[in-house]
Amino acid sequence: MRLWKTDRLGAIAFAAAAALLLLAAATKGWNGSAAAGSVAAPPHHFTADGLSRVSAYIANEITSGKIPGAILLIQQHGRSVFYQNLGVRDVASELSMSADTIFRLYSMSKPITSVAAMMLVEDGKLRLDDPVSAYIPEFAGTKVGVERKNESGKITLALEPLKRPITIEDLLRHTSGITYGFYGDSLVRKLYAEADLFSGDLTNAEVAERIARLPLAEQPGTKWDYGHSTDVLGRVIEVVSGKTLFQFEKERLLDPLGMTETAFDVADQTQRPRIAEPMPDDRAISSATSVRDPMLPRKAESGGAGMVGTITDYARFAQMLLNGGTLEGRRYLKPETIALMTSDHVGPETGIARDYAYYPGESSGFGLGFAVRTSVQPNTLWPLGEYRWDGVAGTFFFIDPVDDMLAIFMVQTPSQRGRIQLALKTLVYQAMGR
């Protein structure tokens, strides 16, 4: 069975677009131009009271010493309906949070890399069903690591051949079998942890080769497994485009979109004061790793976690997505590509397994770079079709086409991020009666 041939791609896109239209028809007002006299539910608008509760929540996080400061932006119908920067970007410098404060985006890099990859797909230079080994030959020899108990009861790792090659789509939806080494304790994850992929200042090519030599945690296309897939995708973009990942993204996406502050590092030493820092005792992103210093140059441009940027930049990226691939008259992706990226690619019909580390959560599937709401979040009126992602240092965003709105929260707090994201998102939706 050959999944994801071009015609299939088109069919999915059509289905996704149709689903969105149905949703829109059901709720009205999703694009801000709903006809008057509609019999459907009125569009959801933000109330001043609701927004002041959002604001008070963030302020309380700061005054209670949980975070140094934060910025929340909400845009609806293409315009800012709420923007607030509160607190400081660094308790040491006491400089205020501001729209040009630089944050470590970590996994919020993934949607950017995914969009860049889909631009190459639209160019016809890359196909979702291409084997990764067509671009990174080392992946031709990659094996799956299967844990086996030997006679003495000791667990060992047996290497099995792949049942099918890893595809570009597997990289985009995290079903490649490539994992992360910093959570879980399986033997494969331990090998990932030991491989220490980003030490030794390797290039993207070298990182990808190292990953290719590691066993996969499972057969491609069998399980959603968060990992270095998007880093490998970044290398594929380099091979296909003949440019570094940053060069390609800069030329095709970042510069035209005006995302001039989004990059893989902050090279200019005078910009140090612009970087947001977590509370001094809140720098650990895992038991072994602390938030990185974006001023330390490194060769690898991690498409999965390496970017830094501002809320202003990310707002332009997110608005382009919400607009169906355009911003200020320039097209970046076709609407059907956005529809494809924001439809579920790991639903029950795919047989793709989910375990305790299925980060999109129970009510969501996963598209090509985003979690996508596929069923109603319990005890909420949150709409379907909402897509989103977040980063380990605390940043998160969500895009809600039904209400034609997006929200971006910028903060640096590895330890408080989960709690704050849920509470804040709940308050934001409550502020528009959901």
């Binding site: 923007y83 920067n85 400089l95 205020s96 501001s98 729209a99």
Partner: protein, 427 residues
């Protein structure tokens, strides 16, 4: 007694003018075009300033009057520093304080004219923190104590509001209402902040009034300076140098004096008159990151004469057009007059007979005083907390620039000098 002589000299001067020109009921207001200076009468300006120095009211001053492109009076008085007794020359460096605002405004207008930003743009387009700004309304409480109620602005403050000083942003160092107290209490001048940080600090404070409702002297021009940085991608000094200071040859007009040789050229106020009452202490020779477009510049007579001549000539100097006709007109047309909806209160600093353009006071009418204060209709002017002062009179093709450093004497000296200058004009 020198002080007695000074008073008598002034009294005599006033008597002489009254006796010589009994027919002119309007005194020195709006003298017909084509007037020239009577050098003998002009000498009284020198007498007056020399007397101020002799009385030790000021260490010194420098005055240039230029008409038809040529100096008609150019003299310095006293010393630049009573400790060194060095003289004041054209390259003596003075702190301008608010006289910085017209310079910032001219460069802003150049950038607006280039389409870098627009007068109608909301401030929050460039500084999103201002999207949440509130207006502070004082309401009397039960016990007679005033409380501050925060309401949303009727419309967002715009670039135009910043340039006309009607944004609602105020200064914390004068007046006593609750918003001004909030400014004073916010410690907005703490530490070595830059323009970006300063804008964030101002964004957290309430506006004193609804945007466009009241002429309100404040940090508007500092916020304008930050926006100029954002739209140009350069520091405020860098963009001002590129657009105006370098081409116009204003090479000593800067935010700080860093060259050790130039530091010797800084004019100092009298040791007992060094509080400029601007809410914070700063020094021309101690550079900070802050480049205050509202009050941070230093300059010289050499530089300001070029700036004033450029404005006198409608935005042109040495064959180079700095401001288009449209931009010049925007800058120098009254925007806060009757029908504009802009109210004036006790702190309307442009003063009697003046409206306000985009960074300049503009003479619009005789005013309420009898006889009216001197000057011509259409006159452009501004000054600063140290007493630096310029008047640009396009009707008479004349400007004068007075440079001094005296926070406490300036309000007496500036009008006295202006009056004597206009009294020296004859048709």
């Amino acid at each position: 007694m020198t002080s007695f002589q000074g008073v008598r000299a002034l009294a005599c001067g006033a008597f002489l003018v009254a006796a010589a020109l009994p027919a002119r009921a309007e005194g020195t207001f709006d003298i017909p075009a084509g007037a020239h200076f009577n050098q003998q009468k002009l000498a009284r300006v020198g007498d007056y300033l020399r007397d101020q120095v002799a009385q030790r009211k000021i260490p010194g001053a420098i005055l240039l009057i230029q008409q038809h492109g040529k100096p008609v009076y150019h003299e310095s008085f006293g010393v630049r520093d009573v400790e060194t007794n060095e003289p004041i020359t054209d390259d003596t460096i003075f702190r301008l304080f608010s006289m910085t605002k017209p310079i910032t405004s001219v460069v802003a207008m150049m950038l607006i004219d280039e389409g870098k930003f627009s007068l109608d743009d909301p401030v929050s387009k460039y500084l999103p923190s201002f999207s949440n700004v509130k207006v502070g309304i004082e309401t009397p409480g039960e016990n007679g104590k005033k409380t501050l109620e925060l309401v949303s602005p009727n419309r967002p403050p715009t670039i135009y509001d910043l340039m006309t000083q009607t944004s609602g942003m105020t200064y914390g160092f004068y007046g006593d209402n609750l918003v001004r107290k909030a400014y004073a209490a916010a410690n907005i001048y703490d530490g070595d902040f830059d323009n970006a940080e300063f804008a964030e600090r101002i964004a957290r404070l309430p506006l004193q009034n609804q945007p466009g409702a009241l002429w309100q002297y404040g940090h508007s021009t500092d916020i304008l300076g930050r926006i100029m940085e954002i739209v140009s991608g350069k520091s405020l000094l860098a963009i001002e140098r590129e657009k105006l200071l370098d081409p116009l040859g204003m090479n000593d007009t800067r935010f700080y004096v860093t060259d050790p040789e130039k530091k010797k050229l800084i004019a100092k106020p009298m040791p007992n008159d060094s509080d400029f009452r601007v809410g914070f202490t700063s020094y021309a020779d101690v550079p900070m990151k802050w480049e205050s477009g509202g009050g941070g510049m230093v300059s010289t007579m050499h530089d300001l004469a070029r700036f004033a001549q450029m404005m006198l000539d409608g935005g042109k100097f040495d064959g180079k057009q700095y401001l288009t006709a449209k931009a010049f007109e925007e800058l120098t047309t009254d925007h806060v007059g009757p029908g504009s909806g802009v109210a004036r209160d006790f702190f309307y600093f442009p003063g009697d007979g003046f409206g306000f353009g985009l960074g300049f006071g503009v003479r619009t009418d005789p005013g309420n005083a009898k006889p009216p204060p001197p000057g011509s209709l259409g006159e452009l002017k501004w000054d600063g907390a140290s007493g630096c002062y310029f008047v640009i009179d396009r009707k008479q093709d004349m400007f004068f620039v007075l440079l001094e450093q005296t926070p406490s004497e300036r309000q007496k000296i500036q009008p006295a000098v202006k009056k004597l200058i206009y009294e020296a004009m004859e048709n």
